[in-house]
């Protein structure tokens, strides 16, 4: 799936991947993933661990933290997001695991 860009790891490579995936897929009508960091786009400087509404999009049903490659969060904000989620978990605002 990675194509001619070795590994397809960078942003550009990833995009190529997605375009191909789109080609593979007969079901029409879905957009290329938005690769924008939410915190950069909305200019959130401090990721507040008490704001469950802010954090919840990054916690899928299982309760794990959504990886950067899916959420599109930039490295800097993913790091602070990690800390914020860890704190929120400790305060029982967010579950550690859910099954």
């Amino acid at each position: 799936m990675s194509g001619e860009r070795g590994g397809g790891r960078g942003r550009g490579g990833k995009k190529d991947d997605k375009d191909k995936a789109k080609g593979d897929r007969p079901r029409g009508g879905f957009f290329r993933r938005r690769r924008v960091c939410k915190f950069c786009a909305e200019k959130i400087d401090y990721i507040n661990y008490k704001d469950v509404r802010l954090l919840s999009p990054f916690i899928p049903e299982r309760g794990k933290i959504q990886p950067r490659r899916i959420s599109g969060t930039c490295a800097k904000h993913q790091r602070s997001l990690q800390v914020a989620i860890a704190r929120a978990r400790q305060l029982a605002l967010i579950p550690y695991v859910t099954d």
């Binding site: 997605k18 879905f30 993933r33 938005r34 200019k43 400087d45 401090y46 704190r87 029982a92 579950p95």
Partner: protein, 153 residues
């Protein structure tokens, strides 16, 4: 030697405790803060909230958030006290002054960059309400579709 710093203290009081007990706890903390020459900047009571998971046997709890300026020793003492009190089922202390400073700096930086660029373009430094664009983009549905694709692979 010890510096004054800003901390944020969040504690969860057991659902069995009465409102009066919560208030008492608050005054207790206030007293400790005063004893160590700190200041209690802000108190926020979130009221009763459902917990994301059980702590002990509690399924809900009363959340209280306090913003405190003081020394590390003060926080150490509060931490020790909260550990002992068993109506407090969970507490967390976070130092926030540095984070707030960083956030302020970023905010100011962005403001000044914006002002500089706008004056370079011959516009007033502050954006006018009339030129606001829609902040939201509407391809969230695309996100969902791809998450599914990711799982399938």
């Amino acid at each position: 030697m010890s510096q004054t710093r800003q901390y944020e203290l969040v504690y969860i009081v057991s659902p069995d405790a009465s409102e009066q007990a919560v208030a008492e706890l608050h005054t207790q903390i206030e007293q400790i803060v005063q004893r160590f020459n700190g200041t209690l900047d802000k108190t926020e009571n979130w009221g009763r909230r459902k917990l994301a998971y059980e702590i002990g046997h509690a399924r809900e709890g009363t959340y209280v958030v306090e913003t405190i300026s003081g020394t590390g020793e003060l926080m150490k003492e509060i931490d020790r006290r909260l550990r002992v009190i068993d109506t407090v089922i969970r507490h967390l202390t976070v130092r926030i002054d540095e984070d707030l400073r960083v956030a302020d700096r970023l905010h100011a930086q962005r403001k000044s960059t914006q002002a500089r660029r706008r004056t370079a373009r011959g516009l007033p430094p502050e954006p006018q309400p009339s030129e606001r664009r829609g902040d939201r983009d509407d391809d969230d549905s695309g996100d969902m579709g791809l998450e599914g694709a990711e799982v399938q692979r």
